[in-house]
């Protein structure tokens, strides 16, 4: 009885938040390790910002995939859709009637079209998501090569200005060897990432849609019994994922400025890996949306660390696979210990997460 009383006084941490905290701790440890081993490069703020600058598209894709994964589905077409969008937008911008607004609308349209197709087939016709999104991936890859085979460099002046536009942060920066102060720079894509993270976090945490997504991911049968429209929620989760893939394609083009067949290749695998590191499980119903950017940051930090260590490129892939292995096993051990009731994490009150996710207490 005594133990019952003690647990009642403390709010029990939900699985989502536990996994999110593990992801956060892993990221902090990883970056701390990087700071200690390579202070010269990782101490600079620019190194941290470059993770965002160069990989803004990956961050955005991971967010969209996160929504689908929480809903208990999977979308492996996101990378191919991102590549298709870069090529289509590059072609549009190079044509005489190209405009940035038009390209943006095209990106959103392509993404939404793929999302609607996947959502309709998966939610309303109840086909297995893996196969349908595999078909979507083939379709996007095929359309990409049909559109254009060779790389296109966008030379439209307005777009080049947008591509080269940087936002300087005057109070953060480093002093170089000659004594000049160089302020840190961020690209417009980073702002898109930040806006989308805030938007999606709010959507998933406080909106009715977000709570429905957690519910159908946890147990779609009981969600239906509670009166949630399972099919419509699932449909919109795929639409959001497709739309996000479209946005990420445009951001990718803003980063590199060229349409290429290899754009966005293997992004889906990287995004799945990032989400898993960030504590979002493929089973669905578990995960904090903020875990997606944290997971991506961890994955990118690992890659940067290995690159800084200067090991052979083949070892890089092996080492990142090994680290992924360690994270997965760690997560699994923590979850298993928690299931056995032997492991209890109690947080100080100021660190306690403020939400009550009743639907994933199981």
């Amino acid at each position: 009885m005594r133990s019952l009383n003690t647990t009642r006084s403390k709010t029990r941490l939900s699985n989502s938040n536990l996994l999110f905290i593990i992801a956060g701790v892993i990221f902090v440890l990883m970056y701390g390790f990087a700071l200690i081993s390579y202070p010269g490069s990782f101490m600079q703020f620019q190194t941290f910002f470059d993770l965002f600058n160069l990989n803004a598209a990956l961050f955005i894709i991971t967010l969209g995939l996160c929504v689908v994964m929480i809903a208990g589905g999977i979308d492996i077409s996101v990378g191919a859709v991102c590549g298709l969008v870069t090529m289509a937008c590059a072609l549009l911008l190079e044509s005489p009637m190209g405009s940035i607004l038009g390209a943006l609308l095209l990106a959103l349209a392509i993404g939404t079209a793929f999302g609607v197709m996947h959502g309709f087939l998966i939610a309303y016709l109840e086909i297995q998501p893996f196969i349908i999104t595999l078909g979507g991936m083939f379709l996007a890859q095929g359309l990409l090569t049909t559109l254009h085979k060779d790389p296109i460099n966008v030379t439209m002046p307005a777009f080049v200005a947008l591509r080269n536009y940087t936002i300087e942060i005057p109070w953060l920066g480093t002093v170089n060897r000659l004594g000049y102060f160089i302020p840190s720079e961020i690209k417009p894509g980073v702002i898109v990432v930040v806006v989308l993270v805030i938007l999606y976090a709010v959507l998933m945490k406080w909106s009715r849609f977000g709570r429905n997504v957690y519910a159908i991911g946890g147990n779609s049968q009981s969600a239906r019994m509670l009166g949630i429209n399972v099919k419509r929620t699932r449909f919109f989760s795929y639409v959001i994922c497709g739309l996000t893939a479209g946005i990420s394609g445009f951001v990718f083009l803003m980063t590199t400025g060229a349409g290429n067949i290899g754009n966005g290749a293997l992004f889906e695998m990287k995004a799945i890996a990032s989400n898993v590191i960030g504590g979002i499980l493929l089973n669905g119903g578990v995960g904090n949306l903020l875990g997606a950017p944290i997971g991506t940051l961890t994955l990118l930090t690992i890659n940067e660390l290995i690159r800084a260590a200067g090991v052979q490129s083949n070892l890089q892939a092996i080492v990142s696979g090994l680290l992924l292995y360690i994270f997965i096993v760690l997560q699994s051990i923590v979850m298993a210990l928690r299931g056995n009731e032997r492991f209890r994490l109690t947080l100080p009150p100021w660190l306690k997460p403020q939400d009550k996710e009743v639907e994933n207490q199981g």
């Binding site: 016709l125 086909i127 297995q128 890996a273």
Partner: protein
């Protein structure tokens, strides 16, 4: 009579893959009537059908393993191509080190590569069964790092496997009219079917896929069964890698069996198996694998623009899955029932013979839709 009924119900399970196969054959025959023609070159059969069987041999073997993994663990192994690349790298490393290549060297190398496949299967299987990681995530590790491991074993870019026996395994043995990979595939299928017939494997795998907790209460350890399916998957990958490397004659660690997991998963789904685990049909998967190879070759034969091949493939897959989806089936069945009632009501006022004919006609179409 009951045996006939069981046969018909099994056939209706295989309706989708067989229907697609028939459709593709018809398309091919429309394109050119000489589709089935087989020519004899150097004492071996060549032609569209033998080439299709030859090209699909690795895919068939991999889809057998994938069916078992999918049925038991309710997820897919996405590292099969990488596993094949690693095991065949070990095989090539052993054969090249041996210097003088005899049949024994090849056999020992093959067995070593099978052991390597078992080790990799054990690695994935431990993650899935003991640590309860989703199969796709667990195998993502090897998917990301596997090709690099294969390259490290090779030590250089694509070592060449130039010896008489490998050449014969990859193409044709003199005196036998059928290409060797086809024979190996048939032998493998025979072994698998004997194992499934004589052991409880099918029952255990299906019950683990349907309800793991119920199986545990009945005294079967679902962890062991899932681990076993991953071991089998490892051996399947090793055999497929062995065939692929002998076919190619050199070990290209980057492109060997690249992205074959997509095709293998597709074969499992085309064969009428649920990707959510449970009951499975190996026959369906095998037919599905041959269908995919035939689809690829048909698109080439129809002289589709190479850039657009993937678009056609995607449209084909999506249409197929729409036709096979449970919702569409229910809708079709309802429409047929309605047509049947309307027909019977209409014919009740008229002659009786016509109504019987109409009803029997709708009946047969209803059976086909199963």
């Amino acid at each position: 009579m009951s045996r006939l009924k069981a046969f018909v119900s099994r056939l209706s399970h295989l309706f989708l893959p067989l229907f697609v196969l028939a459709l593709l054959i018809i398309v091919n025959l429309i394109k050119g009537a000489d589709y089935f023609s087989i020519t004899m070159v150097n004492g071996a059969f060549y032609g569209n059908i033998p080439n299709m069987l030859f090209g699909a041999s690795e895919l068939v073997i991999l889809s057998i393993g994938m069916t078992l993994v999918t049925a038991a663990s309710q997820g897919q192994d996405i590292s099969i191509g990488e596993t094949g690349a690693i095991t065949s790298a070990i095989f090539v490393w052993y054969v090249l080190r041996a210097g003088d290549v005899t049949l024994l060297t090849i056999l020992v190398g093959f067995l070593i590569s099978c052991v390597a496949g078992l080790v990799i299967g054990a690695f994935n299987g431990t993650l899935v069964s003991v640590f309860k990681v989703q199969p796709m995530v667990a195998t993502l590790i090897l998917f990301l790092g596997g090709r690099s491991i294969a390259f490290m074993i090779d030590g250089k870019v694509s070592p060449i496997l130039a010896n008489e026996i490998s050449n014969r395994i990859g193409t044709v043995i003199p005196g036998l009219p059928i290409q060797t990979p086809i024979i190996l595939t048939v032998v493998f299928i025979a072994i698998v079917s004997v194992v499934l017939k004589t052991t409880n494997l099918r029952l255990y795998v299906e019950s683990v896929g349907i309800n793991p907790s119920a199986v545990r209460l009945n005294g079967i350890d679902p962890k062991k069964i899932i681990f076993l399916t991953f071991l089998i998957m490892g051996v399947c990958s090793a055999v497929a890698g062995f065939i692929a490397v002998n076919k190619a004659g050199r070990h290209d660690s980057v492109n060997l069996l690249k992205f074959i997991m997509m095709d293998a998963i597709l074969a499992v789904a085309l064969g009428g198996n649920s990707l959510g685990g449970g009951k499975f049909s190996i026959t369906g998967s095998i037919i599905g694998a041959y269908t995919i190879e035939m689809l690829n070759r048909t698109l080439l034969r129809l002289e589709v623009n190479p850039e657009a091949i993937k678009v056609f493939k995607a449209v084909f897959i999506i249409m197929l899955m729409v036709v096979a989806s449970p919702v569409v089936r229910v809708v079709v069945r309802k429409a047929l029932d309605r047509a049947k009632t309307i027909a019977s009501r209409y014919s009740r006022g008229h002659t009786g013979g016509l109504s019987n004919a109409v009803v029997s006609m709708t009946d047969t179409t209803g059976k086909k839709e199963d």
